[in-house]
């Protein structure tokens, strides 16, 4: 195998450059911290670090940035699981089951599962990047606006399955999120919609809403009764999951990693979409789907493997075609160019040795992430032992500063506060917050790509069924959306014959 030989040469070159190894570990550690802090995403971390890499040699600089990228995607899960603060948008999916596991006293196993799954998903994606890059690069070119629209609709169809106790309330939350997602500049004409004249609303305030709905709402809820502490139920407990437990999750991790890689390859789709899609597929294939949302390790494993699987996929199109898969790789594209490297088909030919040294370094980054992650979890878990009277103010202070950091805007803090109040009442009356976040991620993508596809097809709606990938994704989306409703309807019919009556669209199953 030509690639294996090149990789071995890369390993040898890297071993002779201890500074690059050290800087990649520094990058991973910084990435974990940045990912864990609300409001700071991997994109921001890479952008902040970029100027520091100018004076470094290409391998050291690019590996440090890769380390921040990988660590940033993983780091969001730590605070999502421990405190229900999703450090990154992808971690909002992890928080659904991760925080429930913490409330059950299984925070350690949840964190360990997240770390192992992130590692496996990330490693799988790097191996695919190394060995299948030229084969898969063409797949990205098959994705035009209509396929991206179908992918967004597929993502939105998940709303029915993450609706919790009531499908109708989940759908209401989802469509409210879609309506909020239309706030800002019209994606085609640039006309400001529902902004009330505020320039701060020209972009959908997605991260402030997410921080408010998840973290601030939970903090406000804990103020209802300050005497109730997280206490023993929140003890970290065992970190590495028992082999028998994790063995049963390997199928979920494999499937989610593949989904993450495929989604990562698609331009415009990132780890947040991968995490939600992987979660839904894990739930669909599970023998106990009713446990999802109530603290299921499979949910955590799926989200993390999917999100980190995205990393290699996003790098694949960036390196082979010069097309960044997401915002982070767009910044990395700039970093490569600054180092005098031109991403594209010629990169592998002209700088093969350097590229495979980078690949070896990326594997090292993921191994480093596993070691640093597992090693630091016991320390990070200590925050659960803090008294609630200190922990809640710290969470709220982090929410405030994290929200401000996104755009250096006090206006965003106001949005976060409003979302926090709304989230508190949503929790109270069982309106799930996840569909709102999902809709905020997918809504703009769906609208922009639908309208682009419509313009490209000259106003004809044929693209909805004449393009194979679009047709398949839309069909699966419709089935995903309708299946929970049909299941509930059949259960209602069975119940009605036994004398029980229940309304349509109401679901606890």
């Amino acid at each position: 195998m030509h690639e294996l030989g090149m990789l071995m040469n890369g390993v040898a070159t890297l071993a002779a450059n201890p500074m690059a190894l050290l800087l990649s570990l520094v990058g991973v550690a910084l990435g974990i911290v940045i990912g864990a802090l609300p409001g700071l995403t991997a994109t921001m971390g890479v952008a902040i670090l970029l100027p520091f890499t100018f004076g470094m040699d290409p391998v050291s600089g690019l590996l440090m940035i890769s380390g921040v990228f990988f660590g940033g995607v993983y780091g969001g899960s730590v605070t999502a699981i421990l405190l229900k603060i999703p450090g990154t948008p992808a971690a909002a999916a992890t928080a659904m089951d991760g925080f429930e596991l913490t409330k059950k006293g299984m925070a350690g196993v949840a964190l360990g599962t997240a770390t192992l799954s992130s590692f496996l998903g990330g490693m799988a994606s790097i191996l695919v990047l190394i060995f299948l890059a030229p084969v898969l690069a063409g797949f990205a070119l098959e994705f035009s606006a209509s396929e991206s629209f179908a992918l967004a609709v597929f993502g939105l169809s998940i709303i029915a399955s993450i609706s919790g106790k009531s499908v109708v309330k989940g759908l209401i939350a989802g469509f409210l999120g879609l309506l909020i997602a239309t706030v800002g500049m019209d994606p085609m004409g640039g006309f400001p919609r529902f902004t009330g004249g505020y320039t701060e609303l020209f972009n959908v305030p997605f991260i402030p809403v997410m921080i408010g709905l998840f973290a601030a709402a939970e903090a406000f809820k804990s103020m209802e009764d300050p005497k109730v502490r997280l206490g023993m139920a929140a003890a970290l407990g065992r970190i590495i999951p028992p082999w028998a437990t994790y063995k049963s999750l390997l199928g979920v991790v494999s499937r989610s990693s593949i989904l993450g890689i495929v989604i990562g390859i698609i331009p415009g789709a990132g780890s947040d979409i991968a995490a939600y899609v992987a979660y839904n597929e894990a739930r669909r294939f599970s023998k106990t789907p009713e446990n999802y949302g109530k603290g299921e390790l499979g949910g955590v494993a799926a989200c993390e493997a999917g999100a980190n699987g995205c990393t290699g996929g996003a790098l694949l199109t960036m390196l082979t075609l010069g097309i960044p898969g997401d915002a982070v790789t767009a910044v990395m594209l700039g970093a490569l160019t600054l180092q005098g490297l031109q991403p594209g088909p010629l990169l592998f030919k002209e700088h093969g040795d350097l590229v495979f040294t980078l690949f070896a370094g990326m594997i090292f980054c993921y191994v480093g992430m596993l070691v640093l992650g597992l090693g630091s979890l016991r320390f990070m878990g200590r925050i659960l032992q803090m008294p609630k009277s200190v922990l809640t103010p710290v969470i709220l202070a982090l929410c405030v500063v994290g929200t401000y950091a996104i755009n250096n805007s006090l206006f965003d803090i106001g949005i976060m506060l409003a979302a926090g109040v709304a989230g508190y009442f949503m929790q109270k009356w069982d309106f799930p917050a996840s569909p709102v976040v999902l809709a905020l991620i997918m809504g703009p993508m769906a609208e922009a790509n639908f309208r682009r596809a419509l313009s490209l097809s000259g106003g004809s709606y044929d693209f909805l069924y004449t393009r194979p990938i679009t047709a398949v994704l839309l069909t699966v989306a419709i089935l995903t959306m309708l299946l929970p409703l049909v299941k509930r309807w059949r259960a209602d019919r069975a119940g009605a014959s036994g004398g029980a009556a229940a309304g349509p669209l109401e679901a606890s199953k």
Binding site: I34, L37, L40, I48, K165, S166, V168, K169, L171, I172, F175, L176, L179, T182, D186, M188, G189, R193, F194, F220, M223, E224, P226, K227, P387, K388, S389, V390, T392, P393, V394, L396, A397, L398, V400, V401, Y404, A405, N408, L410, L417, G420, V421, Y424, F425, Q427, K428, W429, D430, F431, E447, R451, L454, S455, A501, A502, G503, L505, E506, S508
Partner: protein, 168 residues
Amino acid sequence: MSNAPVQGGGAGAPLSTKIANLVIAVVLIAVAAAAIASTGDFPKTMLAADVGPARFPIIHASVLIVLCLILIANTLRMPTIADDTPPVGVAGYAGVALGILATAACLYAMEYVGYAVATVVYMAALMWLMGQRSPLWNPVIAVVVTAVIYFTFQSALQVPLPVGSLFE
């Protein structure tokens, strides 16, 4: 309230949940209707093949109205059951309200006195609100936590935090 067996219809819900369902549904219908009404001011698209800026908001708002009507119908026909969850009580809701007000006050104050001062007072006040009433430890913890956050964001991550118009 929140742990009732099925919310929104079917097996029944406590009276407070039913009232909440109805109020929320009505509020959301009003919001959606207002959104549809304001799309009337959106300009027509210049592209013949485009659906224009109003189409998607109208679709989302219309579906939202239909779903809220379904929620209202289900809520009205569901039986009322006893609430088996422990009540939060006036003190509990007062705590939440004060926490929200403190956050709003912190946001307001930050513009004038800057991030550091506003956050120290905010954190100390929240700790006091949550039952930690130590005159020594509250300010110490608040200052230390604020200093760590300030250093992390301002110095390490190069995020400029508000200085406050009084100190500019």
